[in-house]
Symmetry: C3
Subunit: 430 residues, 3 copies
């Protein structure tokens, strides 16, 4: 009897459940959804936070051994600054924006969680903060080995507190670019091309390392510019790859329904395949054109593939994801040479992988997502890149003319580790 | 009044809830279960993906410093290849198998998620893909320092696209080994012994590094075969250990009920204790027999313990888990010497830790799980190891006879980093 | 009609749902809560487990290059020992304590999961075990380069099996310190100051490295005591920072309601901001006082900030969290010099970052949490630190007088790697 009662109840629940699906889309209660969504933000957030370590290792590995302690100090410092600035002013500058507007409010973030927001407001702040930190992480590698540490920290504070939040709010805060139909799922342009634009401005204002272009620009960092540790750079890219599951997957912003969590899974797959496409393309191009299978280009190929898929990791098929990543890898390969020909010294290759591949990925969105137009994508990319580049260029130039941004020639010769940090990076004795 | 109504409703819910438990086993709705199961796959998946970094660091640390860039390139390349191949053909070759059959279909994977599958199909693909990548990660270390990079990539494509999916489908796809009652919870044999068998075939066909066995085989890599970085190797093992919680815990395949999530916790505990048992056994044996507490053997002891518990991480008691791991560590210790006596050059000790400890773990399942017989375990181990070894041996031999698999003597002397990659691994200047 | 039925049912559910909130606080079923809580323990647990790798990298990076293999062996060994001991006796010694009592029972842990516990008992064991391991991780760095490995392992077994569980049970097991109103959310004192006290006792009994204080104590490790790898030390701190989200966030002990998961998010934010405050303070102090922006002090500043917020990561505002971390960083800075003046050789600076910053954080709890008194905090800190220091001092002294704890002068000169492990750490040839 009890058993039949159970069947009856289950049948009733199924009937009403399915009846409910017709209008309510999900059978998950609001509080359980709130918990799932918050957990997605927290889990994705610690994965993206981990990317700060990825950048630190990638950059430590690719700079010369006399500038490694400095790059470590810059990376842990910039991540600390990003947290403080994004709380103090950044979050509300982005999300306090009026609909279709240009700028939010200059107020610190405070927690506004309620059941109606659908997730913990704090978990969203945390997730958005680590994105903000990523933007400035991109800058530190490009400018390594010759920039003064405290002016770099000042720029990091300006970028994370003002420049990034303003342009990001144009889209994710519901500002004017969002209003014209621009689409950038997890930030190929908002985060990566923006970070690349700030790095490019800095590299131009700062100039190349002494002796870097004494002869015609080389394609590979060779003596005396040999990378200090390829395994650490490799570790850095694996960390970034892992963190990118949080970066893109968390940007679904919800995991409380069947549809949302299924989308997160699709995003994981496309993110992974695009990265693989970038690696294999870079490996093949470096072997076919350069003669050797260059591991540094493979590493940057992974990043380029990841950056390229970031603008739209949900709608592509697996094959499309591989191709988007592969083209990202190819763009990285050729723009690396392009920067050399312009004698722009990007120590770790961040501009090819983040700026150029990010633009590619953003412009490619309409190929797989028919709701998006090339016109809107083009407008958004130009607006954001121009804004970040110009403002960054002005900030770098003003800093150069006032407090100075470049270490002395003697300091550059002895290395930033001895000159600025006072700690050599590798005390390896046999 | 409102309060009493609440009590009444709660009481009613409890009554019907408990009534329901009698036949439905859980009170969690199908959609919430779907979300939990999918999150388990995604979370476990990024942990197992992270193991690719663990193998990269372990192998970078244990090879000599002239072959580190190459091992980094191989590891990021093989992980990229595994993703593409497992989508293109691997998944359906394994899971498209007829019940009790031998091989699935040669079709790309496509998403078949629905509420009835109980989890996102894509999250399952992702989780299974990272297992596939693990299998080939095991191979790269053994063959380091002398194999050509592109033939290795070709083998990686064959292993991840065909060899691994076929034998894995025999069990997890519901094929013939599954039908005879074989049990391998998370792949001691399907993944680890299989990867070890492929590595063993490669090591035999390829031969040892030049000068490795000029004299009687040594027990420890000594000059000129010193490991390039013990801390990186240690990091690699900690990464693998962490990732193994996903490897074994995710293999519960569900987290949407009290029973399932409780099982996942038990699996975490047993996985951790077995690893510890392997470490301590290897430490004690190396100290008692070899005189010094060899850290490399401790690291491989951890892996051996982890591999050994992987076939059955759920049924053992904590003490049994420690012992299974400890015996795994001892087997690793003695088979390391065994390989030396056969003059088989396994650069990182992958065959002792994955192949021999994997076989041990699989054969040990019936000790703690009375539903499993030694006969079925023995049959499964022999079938899978023989299949993978023979097919791999043929593939390696054909490749050797055609495109060649070994770098030149000059290249081996200068190191794979200079010869194949064109990037030295450690540009450390003082 | 179907649609209106849906609205009716939804309305009814909302009405009764809200009616229910009045007395039941949550609408999440007991089984779903159980799953969420267990997942929080497991996810937080693998993050804290990952901290074992963080300590291994931090310590590998900061010791001299002749003691790196040994520190790797110690770290993987101690983590293995912690698992075994905390199962064998530790857990029940802590949690089997009578209410308000002093010591639990000497019995192995066994799984007591049921729906009534609210989470998997095993997931709790796993989470508590990794805390136990953290305590002894703190000790290994301080005593590096001169302690014998097996006596260290013996101490690790005593600390993880007895000393830590006993004092931790006084609070988290519901013992006497808990009864007087002491508050230590995630263990600023129970874990970090306790680990620091055990390290301090060991450093005093063991004495400094040969030649470390031949002249007046230096503020920075200089030749011949240069750190072996700053990037590995930086990686270690990023790992610890990541793991700390599990350490503090998981200490909410529940994630199955809106309130709980919102609290976890707040804890993530405060943990992150406090670490940043510690980094920036240490950077500024080292630059203003020492002249250079010392990266090692920045790294220890992060740890000090994290340790300081650990006693109360929930009640502080973001600004308060930054300040608590910043003061922790300053305390670390000045107590580092203090230890030098006492000629206590703490190789990695663990005592300033864990012991002194941990005491600060615990005493600071009443500033933001009005339910806690300074008196109770002071009593708890003194009781725990005195207990751990005195017992550790006795254990170290007895071991010194019997089996010996210090390697020979010759071994210290050649390094622990050659003397005890037989494996050099960095086989880097060009």
């Amino acid at each position: 009897m009890k058993k039949y009662l159970g069947y009856f109840l289950a049948g009733t629940a199924l009937y009403f459940g399915f009846a409910g699906i017709g209008f309510a889309e999900t059978t998950v209660s609001a509080e359980v959804q709130y918990i799932f969504n918050t957990l997605l933000f927290l889990m994705s957030g610690f994965l993206v936070m981990w990317m700060a370590a990825g950048f630190a290792m990638l950059e430590s590995g690719l700079v010369t051994s006399k500038s490694v302690s400095a790059i470590c100090a810059k990376n842990i410092g910039l991540y600390s600054i990003a947290g403080v600035m994004f709380w103090l002013v950044g979050y509300n500058l982005a999300y306090g924006i009026p609909e279709g507007g240009y700028i939010g409010s200059f107020t610190p973030w405070s927690d506004a969680s309620s059941i109606d927001t659908g997730y913990s407001d704090g978990s969203d702040w945390f997730f958005q903060m680590v994105f903000c930190a990523t933007t400035v992480s991109i800058v530190s590698g490009t400018l390594a080995e010759r920039i003064k540490i405290w002016p770099f920290f000042l720029f990091a504070a300006i970028l994370t507190g003002f420049i990034y939040p303003i342009e990001m709010g144009w889209q994710w805060g519901g500002g004017w670019i969002s209003a014209i139909g621009f689409s950038d799922f997890a930030g190929s342009t908002l985060v990566h091309a923006a970070g690349g634009a700030a790095a490019l401005a800095g590299a131009i204002v700062l100039g190349p390392r002494a002796g870097r272009f004494g002869t015609k620009g080389e394609v590979r960092p060779l003596e005396p510019f040999a990378a200090s540790s390829i395994p650490l750079a490799t570790l850095g890219v694996f960390i970034l790859w892992m963190g990118w599951f949080g970066f893109n997957g968390g940007s679904q912003l919800a995991a409380g329904t069947l549809e949302d969590v299924t989308s997160v899974a699709t995003i994981y797959i496309n993110t992974n395949l695009a990265a693989g496409g970038g690696v294999l393309t870079a490996a093949a191009l470096s072997r076919l054109i350069g003669g050797k299978t260059d591991v540094v280009l493979m590493l940057n190929g992974a990043i380029a593939g990841l950056v390229a898929i970031t603008a739209e990791p949900l709608t592509p098929s697996p094959l499309a994801a591989i191709l988007i990543g592969a083209i990202g890898g190819a763009i990285m390969y050729f723009t690396t040479k392009l920067l050399f020909s312009f004698r722009i010294d990007d120590v770790v290759g961040a501009i090819p992988a983040h700026f150029f591949a990010g633009i590619w990925g953003t412009l490619a969105v309409p190929i797989t997502n028919s709701d998006v137009t090339f016109g809107a994508q083009f407008t958004g990319v130009v607006a954001i890149c121009a804004f970040v580049f110009v403002v960054s260029y002005i900030v770098w130039s003003v800093m150069k003319a006032t407090i100075g941004i470049r270490i002395s020639k003697e300091a550059e010769k002895s290395g930033t580790d001895r000159a600025e940090i006072g700690v050599i990076a590798y005390g390896i004795r046999d």
